[in-house]
Amino acid sequence: MLDGAPILICEDEPFIALDLVASVEDAGGRAVGPAATVREALALLATQEVVGAILDVNLSDGEVTPVAERLLDAGIPLVVQTGVGLPAALGDRIAPDAVFSKPVLPQKLIRRLEDALAGTTRR
């Protein structure tokens, strides 16, 4: 369970985004977002604390790379879902098992994120 953990959601496709929000809430987490754009996501990160993130690669104003880099630099665990693969800049910074090919069940993304969060707490 996410136990009220704030999770950033970046996804521009409304059905998927709202489903992710509901799924994070189902798992006991608190959804931050959903952000449909990189700009929106960076603005959220500037004002809110998050402990994990679910990212779509292609947002409506470009690739999610700046958001992912900000999170990776801060050591915040993230999972990625993508229809087209990973941007070159992120290729070797994200574990292959944290990258999912669309379509993917939200529960699967959340489980992987929970594992990563458990790992960071243990460390």
């Binding site: 521009d12 496709e13 409304p14 059905f15 998927i16 985004a17 709202l18 489903d19 509901a22 799924s23 959903p34 952000a35 449909a36 754009t37 929106e40 409506s60 104003d61 879902q81 229809g83 087209v84 090919s101 669309k102 379509p103 993917v104 069940l105 939200p106």
Partner: protein, 502 residues
């Protein structure tokens, strides 16, 4: 048959058939008179003629009486043997106009020689093209004047025709080579010197005309380093044929111009001489640039299509989960989900018009906003009502493939809402969807009238409204403003045009 005049005319001995005919001929009515009175010069020349195997004739006396030998018979055709002793101008009336100037020269003492002279003869009763190599010689009589003429001749019709046929065949092969749709070149020696190239080859290399006699390396310097010269070297060394498909080659096709990327299907066939040694390379192939580019374009389209399908499945997955969260019963869920999936499907129909060879599509269906609004709204009512209940209007506007899906789902949610609670929930309700373009913005106005009276704006918007808002703001970077009037909902939507073209 033996002839008793033979003893008197020793000079007429031999000569086969024509010798016999001349001996037996009644010469008394001829201007030549009987052979025993013939001048010695005539006797000598007739004797030479009769005893030669070469086709010859003698024309003698004031009428140029015609005497010929066995070798000459085929030339006469059907006129043999009646022609013997008749005047030249009679036996060769058909060509007299052609040969008369030559005859006149001979009679004036001047010999002539002609090679393959063309004459149209009617020796067999019909006009025939014939060719002759012959010489007309004057023959002097005892007085020192010209008594007649002598001719040795050979018909060369068969040879001339044969030579013409060979020439024609060579020309035909040259034309085939020159006009072949594929490019061809023959390269000679270890340096691959251009010996011959055809039109297609010149076209490939950009109409450079100065390649013949020059090595490939020098005539097409940009070829070096692309692997072709190495392949030619190998062909000359090993005698092995090389076949390549869709090979990239960069060529400078305009003098001083930029190098250009082309693609070729290529064959290098080593040529062996009579001794079996490799003397060169026959290069042939096709410029397949257009085919290769079309294949690449198709691959891109397929990849794009693959992404779209994946995305559609992802959206559909989200729809299922999300619809399940709000549905009150399986039936309720099925209706809502079917509506959303159908809207997605219709949007997809509009998107895929930009793919080639989409079948079963009528011309008036376009990816324009007008077509999209119709495609999404009209299924919400009976056909017969549509014209009176829905007003659609605005300037033509093309919507990009990415935005069509989003816009379709926005319109679908609005229409569903109207059908459940608004103007489309009662038979007399009406909806107007109208838009205008101002600057770089699309303003779209949704107005419902004739539905149930709205007393208070709905407190919770629910998932439908959240979807609309996320789609408008998050995806299309637009804005929306609800106005819950008592007489019906009015919604003002605004989108940046550059987003809609995506």
């Amino acid at each position: 048959m033996f002839d008793d005049t033979f003893a008197d005319h020793g000079f007429l001995q031999g000569g086969g058939e024509m010798g016999r005919r001349i001996r037996m001929h009644d010469w008394s009515k001829s201007p030549l008179g009987p052979p025993e009175r013939w001048a010695q010069s005539l006797r000598s020349v007739v004797s030479i003629m009769l005893n030669s195997k070469f086709p010859m004739f003698v024309a003698w006396g004031p009428d140029l009486a015609f005497l010929y030998n066995d070798g000459y018979r085929p030339i006469f055709g059907a006129r043999h043997p009646q022609a013997l002793g008749l005047p030249f101008s009679d036996v060769w009336a058909d060509i007299w106009a052609d040969v008369r100037p030559l005859v006149d020269k001979a009679l004036q003492g001047e010999a002539t020689f002609h090679e393959d002279m063309h004459l149209v003869m009617e020796r067999n009763g019909y006009p025939e093209d014939t060719w002759y190599t012959f010489s007309y010689s004057p023959v002097r009589d005892e007085s020192g004047g010209i008594g007649g003429m002598f001719c040795a001749c050979r018909e060369t019709t068969a040879e001339v025709k044969h030579r013409a046929a060979i020439k024609e065949e060579q020309q035909r092969l040259r034309d085939l080579f020159q006009q072949a749709p594929g490019f061809m070149a023959v390269l000679r020696g270890p340096d691959h010197v251009f010996e011959i190239v055809n039109e297609s080859y010149l076209q490939l290399i950009g109409h450079r005309r100065d390649v013949i006699g020059r090595p490939v390396k020098e005539a097409l310097p940009e070829i070096e380093g692309q692997g072709f010269i190495e392949l030619l070297d190998r062909g000359v060394k090993t005698g092995e044929t090389f076949v390549g498909r869709s090979m990239p080659v960069t060529l400078q096709r305009q003098p001083g111009g930029a190098v250009e990327q082309r693609y070729v299907d290529l064959l290098y066939q080593p040529i062996r001489n009579d001794a079996g040694a490799i003397s060169g390379i026959f290069a042939e192939g096709y410029d397949v640039t257009e085919r290769v580019l079309a294949e690449e374009k198709q691959k891109l389209l397929l990849r794009e299509l693959h992404h779209r399908v994946k995305n559609l499945f992802a959206i559909a997955g989200g729809m299922v989960s999300l619809t399940a969260r709000t549905a009150t019963s399986p039936r309720d869920m099925a209706v809502a989900l079917r509506g959303r999936l159908d809207a997605l499907g219709r949007a997809n129909d509009l998107i895929h018009q930009d793919l080639p060879e989409t079948v079963g599509r009528s011309a008036e269906q376009t990816r324009g906003l007008d077509a999209l609004v119709r495609a999404i709204l009209l299924p919400h009512m009976e056909d017969i009502e549509a014209a009176t209940r829905v007003r659609i209007g605005g300037p033509p506007l093309d919507i990009g493939a990415l935005s069509v899906t989003t816009l379709a789902l926005i319109l679908h949610e609005l229409a569903t809402n109207a059908a459940k609670y608004g103007a489309l929930s009662v038979p007399e309700g009406r909806v107007a969807v109208e838009w205008s373009i101002s600057g770089d913005l699309l303003d779209l106005h949704w107005r419902e009238r004739g539905g149930p009276m709205i007393t208070t704006p709905p407190a919770a918007h629910g998932f439908g409204s959240a979807l609309v808002e996320r789609s408008v703001v998050g995806q299309l970077h637009g804005s929306l403003e609800y106005d819950w009037r008592a007489e019906g909902l009015e919604l003002q939507l605004s989108f940046p045009l550059d987003r809609l073209r995506n």
